[in-house]
Symmetry: C2
Subunit: 200 residues, 2 copies
């Protein structure tokens, strides 16, 4: 699918009503993920971003892991709503896990000690950019998705389950699926309070 | 101007050779900044991102401030190359300053203490997304730009010069201008090392 950049920016939303129905091929999903990972910018072109695409039972497993991790810490009387929320993500077609490879970040820190404290922050910026590109790409292809953060609660089990390198730090999770309910109305703060121009 | 999202993602680059020539109207620049700030996602729709557009002498002033701040800390024998670099940004048509409003972040922290440590991180993700949208939009309009980080060195003077709220935290600076030299070739790591798929 193809879409004008500005329209894609405008139309990307957090979509919570998703189902297991496919709206495009798995190859297409992997293609857009490859495109996003390849072209997302990173400090000093360090390419620290990593992504894992989970489909089918693998996707279900992610949310089962999350549910069981939450069961251990959420009071039983409020676990019902927690479970319902996790099930709504599990209802999706797949999930994308976003990581930043800390071996890359640490490599930059030892190579450029002057910016030591900055590289972890820039790595977070770069991850945000990557998440954004994937999110918007999924929207263009017709999938609804949202950004979730059950890290660091699920980090160890995720790494163990999919045998991921120890230096991959989990940053965010993005469940996606066919849209079953549209996004709600969104409120916008006045732009005059957020953007200033100085010109002379 | 209009451009397909995937092409825009592919074509966005760091451009260091920029001049003071306009390639679009100032109103158009402000429009794309408004569009980006309005539609960039933020945790809990908190809309913590802030942006300042500096044009003409105001843009020059930013880089003069940066140069003088650097003169105080860079050894005199290496200041020549520092000055040259800063002048290359000053050679541009304008600059965009990206901030995150800490009063918004702190408000979320007191409202949702459970996620206290997460909000500053999510605010950085959101800023990265905003920077990315603006960067790509400038590219679509024909401007070259790059992302610079002279914060926190210039924070106090920037706030004083443009009388910005004390809670606006400077995150990044983006000089832009007419492209006078193309981006260099970019190396890409193998995608097999960066993206994994699990499906069954």
């Amino acid at each position: 699918m193809s879409k004008d950049f500005y329209s894609a920016v405008k139309d990307r939303r957090s979509i919570y009503g998703i189902s297991k129905e496919a709206v495009t091929s798995d190859e297409k999903i992997l293609d857009i993920l490859h495109h996003a990972v390849k072209y997302a910018p990173s400090a000093f072109n360090s390419q620290s971003g990593r992504a894992v695409l989970l489909l089918g039972d693998q996707h279900n497993k992610l949310w089962d892991i999350t549910k069981e991790a939450l069961r251990k810490i959420v009071p039983p009387e409020s676990f019902g709503s927690t479970e319902e929320k996790i099930n709504s993500f599990r209802n999706g077609y797949g999930s994308i896990l976003f990581f930043e490879d800390q071996s890359v970040v640490e490599g930059l820190q030892s190579q450029f000690p002057l910016y030591k404290d900055n590289f972890p922050v820039w790595s977070q910026h770069s991850s945000g950019m990557l998440q954004y590109i994937v999110w918007t790409s999924l929207e263009i292809e017709g999938f609804g998705s949202s950004l979730q953060h059950y890290n660091p609660l699920i980090d160890e089990e995720v790494k163990r389950e999919w045998k991921l390198p120890d230096k991959w730090k989990l940053i965010a999770q993005m469940p996606f699926g066919k849209i079953t309910a549209p996004a709600q109305e969104k409120d916008f703060k006045p732009l005059e309070e957020r953007v200033k121009m100085f010109k002379q």
